[in-house]
């Protein structure tokens, strides 16, 4: 009985402490809100990225890119004479958590938000950005509704992205399958748990059928699945010429591996979700031969800006930067550029500057923002050859 009472006491004390701590946080918070920041204080920018959960590799690499960019900017003297202070938080690859983290960052007085990466989470964070009039730059949210309200067709005032859109990359792959790979029959196996993959599948289907191809099977899977053999067996029996697998690398890697085991030798196609060093680890280099995917950039590019970026990134993180690192890097420079042009840290002014972006040159290409806050930029098409990415074509919109 004595132990019990002590334990209860202990837990109660812990409870009280945590409440007091919570209140303490609240108190200091209101204080900072009332004192206006002096001009030389750093500019705070919030990073709302996926450091854990299903797409942890995207978030982690993107953060690395962003951090590298801000460090470079700070080394060069900062923006408008002020340094940039970045606050990194993990939204755990979850939309509700992304809302929470965005609110937490807003509370910390950030002037702009970068991230989350996947569209679902961006949709979660959007209301917080809009309510508080703080611009949100989504580095990799490729689905249409990230910046445009689908029902009203209106642009979301405070949301921007630095990547191309799903209809563009999906359509591109559809054309490539029909024209270059000479496919007549295609099967689609998509991750139905994301808007991203569904958007890609839709675009692929449209462009592929427009070119006279037929879709012989449309199957789905969800994030976290590990066994795809039954679905693949079904697809194999429809004898497609290509299989389009829009999704993220954790699952698409396993799909590639199991498809090859089952004797599906036709080309497998994918989108930018395939881009990860883990893809080769999961599927094995051999299974990935004859697979193609669309992407934002390639580290093999000879453009001097890309070469410089790849070298700096390799020096800092000991690996080759993937597209998410590159998009993060560009997003960071884009935000810094907008703050410079706005000459202010006011959210509305930064937003206006972002919307007015023209001919911004980044490692993922040169682009301008269109009226929907989408950059107009090119894509690359990559083939996997013995575990290495080889650029096949670079396509302008």
């Amino acid at each position: 009985m004595k132990i019990n009472k002590k334990l209860v006491l202990l837990l109660m004390v812990a409870f009280l402490v945590s409440i007091v701590a919570g209140c303490g946080g609240a108190a200091t918070k209101t204080e900072t809100e009332k004192t206006p920041a002096p001009a030389k204080e750093p500019i705070k920018i919030g990073l709302n990225v996926e450091l854990s959960g299903g797409v942890a590799s995207y978030g982690t690499n993107c953060r690395n890119g962003i951090v590298m960019a801000f460090d470079e900017i700070n080394k060069a003297g900062g923006v408008n004479g002020r340094k940039i202070e970045y606050i990194v938080m993990d939204c755990k690859s979850d939309a509700a958590e992304a809302t929470n983290v965005a609110a937490r960052l807003v509370q910390k007085q950030v002037v702009a938000l970068i991230g989350p990466l996947v569209t679902g989470s961006v949709l979660g964070a959007t209301p917080i950005a809009t309510q508080n009039k703080i611009p949100l730059v989504a580095p990799a949210a490729t689905a249409l509704p990230a910046t445009v309200d689908e029902e009203t067709g209106k642009t979301k005032e405070f949301v921007f992205r630095t990547c191309f859109l799903d209809p563009f990359q999906g359509g591109l792959m559809g054309n490539y399958a029909a024209d270059t790979l000479k496919a007549k029959k295609a099967a689609i196996l998509m991750d139905t748990s994301t808007d991203y993959a569904k958007g890609l599948a839709q675009a692929f289907k449209e462009s592929f059928t427009k070119k006279g191809g037929t879709i012989v099977a449309e199957e789905g899977f969800v994030k976290g699945d590990k066994d795809f053999k039954s679905t693949l067996t079904k697809i194999k029996n429809k004898a497609p010429d290509v299989v389009y697998v829009p999704g993220y690398y954790n699952e698409t890697g396993l799909i590639a591996k199991q498809a090859r085991e089952l004797g599906i030798t036709v080309p497998l196609l994918g989108g930018d979700g395939w881009d990860s060093a883990d893809l080769v680890n999961i599927a094995g280099a051999k299974a990935l031969n004859h697979t193609f995917f669309t992407n934002h950039y390639s580290p093999q590019d000879n453009d001097p800006k890309v070469v410089k970026f790849v070298q700096a990134y390799k020096a800092a993180y000991k690996t080759t930067p993937d597209a998410f690192a590159a998009l993060g890097y560009d997003s960071a420079y884009l935000v810094a550029d907008a703050i410079k042009r706005a000459g202010s840290t006011d959210g509305v002014k930064i937003k206006d500057a972002l919307a007015a972006t023209t001919n911004f040159t980044g490692v993922t290409g040169t682009f301008s923002m269109d009226q929907y806050h989408n950059p107009v930029k090119s894509a690359v098409l990559i083939e996997m050859v013995d575990g290495k990415q080889v650029v096949r074509t670079k396509i302008k919109p």
Partner: protein, 295 residues
């Protein structure tokens, strides 16, 4: 026609994985009537031990499996001593919630210590071979055979231990009536420790095999297979060793058929619906005998 046979093969290979996990589940439940929710997570720990043995120590699959089994047997005994033993006379709810707590603890301690990143085994860990039949219409991989053979062998071994050894005899006695067993001079604590050691070692073996089979492991890999294996154990009649095996195959084949002829998206829902139906109409499972409720 070949498609159907291929789907059956897919089902059996998936089913042997469920069966492997279900064996340990059903054994622990049979002896102390506890749904060891942490079983799937012990499997995950086993997979990680196996992974590190292969990736860092550079050993082969079989020694890695032995390491994993030893480590997890120890882990199982420790978990039982620390978390479950103090609750042996508490309510079922308290024991079940503790099991959930242990499960969450293993998952998140692993995430905390080893990051949530998915990891994959070094290339060439398992020399893969595919066998094609009927003009490539039917495919069988040596991984499938490996898992199937392992599942059957472990089931036979387990059945032998439970039915024909001294420790097995005391396990059966404890499962019938703990107090009476104690009065007959059986060391109940020791018997339960053995049960957990064996059950957890089985989970570890399953973990390494699942890891090698899918080539990827992550800290939450145990949740869904753990749940499915539990469903398999219930379908076969929980506490009955051959039942767990059959339950695993039933689940695997069912899932393969749902994915192959229906939609893979409803696969999990069908699995749980079958579980609920079985619980409603034959709560003791396919192989179970109705013992009536003790008052």
């Amino acid at each position: 026609m070949y498609e159907f046979f291929q789907q059956m093969l897919n089902g059996v290979s998936l089913g042997s994985i469920y069966a492997l996990i279900a064996l340990g589940y059903t054994m622990v439940y049979g002896i102390i009537n506890l749904i060891n929710f942490a079983h799937g997570d012990i499997m995950m720990v086993g997979a990680y031990v196996g992974f590190f043995s292969i990736a860092i120590l550079g050993v082969g699959v079989v020694p890695a499996m032995v390491f994993a089994m030893l480590a997890c047997a120890l882990l199982g005994v420790v978990i039982e001593k620390l978390a479950y033993k103090p609750l042996r006379n508490s309510t079922r709810i308290a024991a079940l919630i503790t099991a959930i707590g242990v499960s969450l603890f293993l998952e998140y301690a692993t995430i905390w210590l080893l990051t949530p990143q998915q990891r994959s085994f070094p290339i060439g860990t398992f020399p893969e071979k595919n066998y094609y039949f009927f003009d490539q219409q039917l495919v069988l991989t040596n991984k499938d055979l490996f898992v199937l053979v392992a599942a059957v062998a472990l089931m036979v071994l387990l059945q032998y231990i439970v039915k024909h050894t001294r420790i097995g005899k005391s396990m059966r006695a404890v499962s019938q009536d703990m107090e009476a067993a104690m009065l007959m001079g059986i060391n109940v604590d020791k018997t339960i420790s053995y049960t957990f050691a064996i059950g957890s070692a089985l989970a570890a073996a399953a973990g390494v095999m699942v890891g090698v089979y899918y080539n990827t492991i992550d800290p939450l890999m145990g949740i869904i297979p753990g749940l499915k294996a539990f469903v398999a154990a219930v379908i076969g009649g929980i506490g009955i060793i051959p039942g767990a095996m059959m339950g695993g195959f039933v689940m695997g084949i069912l899932e393969a058929l749902v994915s192959g002829y229906g939609s893979s998206l409803y696969r999990d829902a069908v699995a749980f619906a079958v579980l609920i139906l079985i619980l409603l109409f034959k709560p003791t499972g396919i192989f179970g005998k109705d013992t009536g409720e003790k008052v």
